[in-house]
């Protein structure tokens, strides 16, 4: 264990960010050909590819619901996505994150428009450096938009951590592992609705309240970037004069 400090005395983190500063985030939409909708995100060093298939006939059929579409998420990490080699077999963590992501996106989608069908969200983590679930949720909501699936709002997501006694926005891998706590949130900004809130570690009630404020601010920043990505993608497409 190194004695390197994660936050310097003048409040700068070890990657040069301020306490409430996000990493560099770049969204791209419509990157895959064989899916109905897709998105790619580079969130600092975290890189994730998301493909959406559907709404389509539900397979297996007995899982289809008579009154709404079934949403399924498949979160998977590539073997090379982490520093140590990750076994390609599905892990407990991947299964859990799939469930968490599915439930974070579910409230945003008008599933009742497509009874008996399924909407599958495939999430491939190519490189992981913390906040993969947040990046995955944010990118997946863009892929759903690209697939033309009706939604109440975009879902933006970000995490707040407690590191060396201070609250930091957008937790990277090192801060997550060595910090005291980590709290990811997914949020629908124009509905002011939280669709995911998790926490591990320990914080005080006051810190929790301050975290929520910080999380909302972070989600709004992500939301702005999501909107910009959609506008950039569809504007370019509409003025496109080249043959497909």
């Amino acid at each position: 264990m190194t004695t390197e400090k994660l936050i310097s005395d003048d409040g700068i983190r070890n990657d040069g960010r301020k306490l409430d500063e996000l990493r560099k985030i770049k969204f791209e939409i419509g990157v895959l050909k064989n899916t109905d909708g897709s998105a790619y995100v580079e969130w600092g060093r975290t890189k994730i590819l998301v493909g959406v298939m559907g709404p389509r006939e539900s397979h297996p059929k007995h899982l289809a619901m008579p009154d709404k579409a079934r949403i399924d998420a498949f979160y998977r990490m590539a073997s090379f996505s982490v520093e140590e080699w990750k076994s390609p077999a599905p892990s407990r963590r991947e299964t859990e994150l799939s469930k968490v992501i599915r439930e974070a996106l579910g409230p945003a989608v008008f599933t009742e428009y497509f009874p008996r069908t399924s909407i599958d969200i495939f999430i491939e983590v190519l490189q992981a450096d913390g906040s993969t679930r947040c990046a995955a949720i944010s990118a997946a909501s863009l892929a759903l938009v690209d697939a033309g699936i009706p939604m109440r709002d975009l879902v933006a997501s970000i995490a707040v951590g407690k590191v060396e006694g201070q609250l930091v926005l957008d937790v990277q891998d090192k801060e997550d592992k060595e910090g005291e706590s980590d709290m990811p949130m997914a949020y629908m900004p124009s509905k002011n609705a939280v669709t995911l809130l998790q926490m591990d570690g320990q914080i005080t009630h006051d810190e929790f309240l301050r975290s929520i404020e910080l999380l909302k601010k972070g989600c709004l920043d992500v939301y702005k970037m999501q909107k910009e990505a959609i506008e950039a993608h569809f504007k370019v497409n509409e003025s496109n004069t080249e043959e497909a």
Binding site: P66, T117, R152
Partner: protein, 226 residues
């Protein structure tokens, strides 16, 4: 009203507040109206709607669709109509005589992979859409080319009162049938002829929301014609 006509909106964009009506791809929450899909916002006589840029095809009774046979069952065929729901074409809606499954196979008339032009006779999302070929110009496709475009671009390929498709037919001398599900059938004298009309249709789909499109497509057809 919270937007400019034909402004690009994303799901969750607040479109209007107060006395309006929710049209396509718009949902209401108390007295607020939000977009539910990515598209171009549109207001007409208090009706707020979003013209979709992406979306899947949902069958409506009366629609003409082009389907591909994916399964033959004793007295019906299952058709892929590029929708979340597969179409069902009963033998009685396709053949002029009854089909006895004990004596003959449905596959004899229509096999997997073949394309059919059909109309939707009923659909309510609780059952798969049922299709029919009992009308003029409907039935199995025997010749020509079928291409896929985004279903949201179909209105543009047809044009206002059929202006675009009328021009396409006139300038190219081919037969064209546009399925509401985003499949277009083109039949001409030669493959080359079909190919350049197909390219023109793809061009329409790609540039659907730009102005002066009909004239540009006409120029394109004229310059590619020999």
């Amino acid at each position: 009203m919270n937007f400019e006509q034909r402004q690009l909106v994303v799901p969750g964009t607040l479109l209007a507040e107060g006395k309006y009506e929710a049209g396509f791809n718009v949902y209401r929450d108390a007295d607020k109206y939000f977009a539910s899909i990515v598209g171009l916002a549109d207001l007409r006589n208090d009706l707020v709607s979003v013209i979709p840029l992406r979306g899947c095809y949902l069958p409506q009774p009366g629609d003409i669709v082009i389907g591909k046979v994916i399964e033959c069952i004793p007295t019906a065929w299952m058709l892929d109509i590029r929708s979340p729901y597969q179409g069902v074409l009963f033998a009685s809606e396709f053949l002029s005589k009854p089909l006895n499954p004990m004596r003959e196979e449905a596959r004899k008339y229509l096999d997997v992979g073949e394309m059919v032009i059909a109309s939707v006779i009923a659909f309510d999302r609780t059952r798969n859409p049922s299709l029919s070929c009992r009308d003029h110009n409907l039935g199995k496709i025997q010749r020509g080319t079928v291409i896929d475009v985004d279903a949201t671009r179909v209105p543009r390929i047809i044009g206002k009162k059929g202006s675009m498709i009328g021009m396409l037919k006139k300038e190219s001398n081919t037969q064209i049938m546009v399925g509401q599900n985003g499949r277009v059938w083109i039949s001409g004298k030669t493959r080359d002829e079909e190919a350049y009309v197909a390219a023109a249709v793809r061009k329409i789909a790609d540039e659907a929301h730009t102005s002066g499109l009909t004239d540009r497509i006409r120029e394109y057809l004229v310059s590619n014609r020999r």
